[in-house]
């Protein structure tokens, strides 16, 4: 068994119009920029995939990565907790013009809904958002004298994930706070596509320090020295211009 694929284009080749795509990262840290850009490349060449539903904590920053995906017109709806950033102009303009749907979810609820999708838990109760506009139309229930909101799992067709080290079985480690949503999204997607800074043979990661066991991972592609969104934005990079 070897889950390695040879290149980024191959890794994202199976993503189709209308799919739900989870994208790891919190702001730029842990964002799989190279996988996102490979998806944009495919769209430019073939017109697909489009009408994507994207799940990410944010809505992109500047004109690279997730922001570039949105700018390219590939995203129909975004599910996120915080669509603001230092340079949120791409999402903001498209949203205010009615060009993209937004489902706003409290960050802890977003994380838990994704984990629930991965863990086979169709619904759970949380105190978060009770009594607020974000709980509107959601079922509520009382437990031990306190009120809670019922939330549903989130699943995806595909997850795009950034890891530090992967082995050929798909076991993963992450780098510092770049971990964030990535392990959860591996669990909740039918196909987790992972870019890793290095790929080692099975046995190359100590079984004690594996963060994402390979059972949650379907494809891994090596991207040594991955780009950082923050560095790109400080250099005023724009993926549309680079192409």
């Amino acid at each position: 068994m070897d889950k390695t694929v040879s290149d980024l284009a191959t890794a994202v080749a199976g993503i189709e119009d209308g799919m739900t795509v989870m994208i790891g990262g919190f702001g730029g840290s842990g964002s799989p920029i190279e996988l996102i850009h490979a998806l944009i490349d495919r769209y430019r060449e073939t017109g697909h995939p489009k009408d994507l539903v994207v799940i990410n904590n944010n809505a992109g920053n500047g004109h690279v990565g997730l922001a570039a995906l949105i700018e390219a017109g590939m995203v129909h709806k975004l599910i996120c907790s915080f669509p603001r950033s230092a340079d949120p102009v791409v999402f903001t303009e498209m949203y205010l013009a009615g060009g993209i749907e937004l489902e706003l979810v409290p960050q802890g609820t977003l994380a838990e809904r994704i984990r629930a999708g991965g863990a086979g838990i169709p619904a759970f109760y949380t105190p978060s958002s009770y009594g607020t506009d974000l709980a509107k139309d959601k079922p509520v229930a009382e437990f031990d004298g306190r009120m809670y909101v019922q939330e549903r799992w989130l699943k995806a067709d595909v997850a795009l994930v950034k890891a530090d080290t992967a082995d050929t079985f798909g076991n993963l480690t992450y780098r510092m706070a770049a971990r964030n949503f990535n392990p959860l999204m591996c669990m909740a997607a039918s196909e987790a596509i992972v870019q890793a800074s290095r790929i080692v043979d099975a046995g190359g990661i100590d079984p004690e320090v594996v963060v994402t066991p390979g059972i949650f991972v379907q494809k891994v592609v090596e991207v040594a020295d991955p780009l950082q969104e923050e560095d790109l934005n400080r250099a005023n990079a724009a993926y549309s211009l680079e192409a």
Binding site: G117, G118, A119, G120, I121, N171, P207, V210, G214, I215
Partner: protein, 222 residues
């Protein structure tokens, strides 16, 4: 009546496990399936207590009792193994990440119901992970003798013993046959070559559908 040994039933079940499959084997008899993986195919075994990628038992005397399977037997590690806690372990189960779970049975019903955890109200009840496994794996298969020690059918119309899960089993490997469960009916796929359909039906507690050719169930001595 000639029938397969437990080793042979386990061998037959092992032939249906694909290369790279993630597999959970129930405690006891189902553990035998691991011994019969076809050459060139690598299955990765999951155990409820937080380990993927374990291998066979160590030699007696060299056990490490922190490295056990769900049956509390000592195991070894294979390259690419990973440890995790119990909630993550059952996320793998409940979240449909396992390709197949192979379990034992007291009774399997034609509607896919399984009874394999309790023989009734006497004694101390114990369930373990069985009720999670039956609703988690993408494919839930059973290996079992075709009849009880008293000769009664274990494949039945409806289970009489307490259920482990509702409508969960899709294939049964028995000492006499391989039977799929489809649309609430037993569908015969393979039977021992020397066994007549009538004789097989006579020891089966619900009607066997025979929609097409029935293959010979031929298993080597193992």
């Amino acid at each position: 009546m000639e029938k397969l040994s437990n080793n042979q039933i386990a061998w037959r079940a092992a032939q249906d496990i694909a290369d790279g499959a993630y597999v959970n084997l129930g405690i006891g008899f189902p553990e035998k399936v691991a011994q019969f993986q076809p050459d060139g195919r690598e299955a990765i075994f999951h155990t409820e207590n937080g380990l993927l990628g374990f291998g066979q038992a160590p030699e007696a005397g060299s056990e490490d009792w922190d490295l056990i399977n769900a049956g509390k037997k000592a195991v070894t590690l294979k390259p690419g193994a990973a440890f995790f806690h119990h909630a993550d372990s059952f996320a793998m189960v409940r979240g449909s990440h396992l390709d197949v779970a192979i379990l034992g049975a007291y009774e399997v019903a034609e509607n896919g119901d399984l009874a394999n955890w309790s023989t009734g109200p006497k004694g101390v009840p114990a369930v373990g992970g069985a009720m999670d496994l039956v609703h988690g794996a993408k494919r839930v298969a059973v290996i079992t003798d075709h009849v009880t020690k008293k000769g009664q059918p274990k494949l039945v119309k409806r289970c009489s013993l307490p259920l482990t899960g509702v409508g969960c089993v899709t294939r049964v490997y028995t000492s006499l046959a391989v039977i799929d469960i489809e649309n609430g009916r037993f569908v015969l796929r393979e039977k021992l070559p020397g066994l007549s359909l009538e004789d097989l039906q006579a020891v089966t507690g619900a009607e066997l559908l025979v929609p097409g050719a029935v293959a010979d169930l031929v298993v080597p001595e193992v």
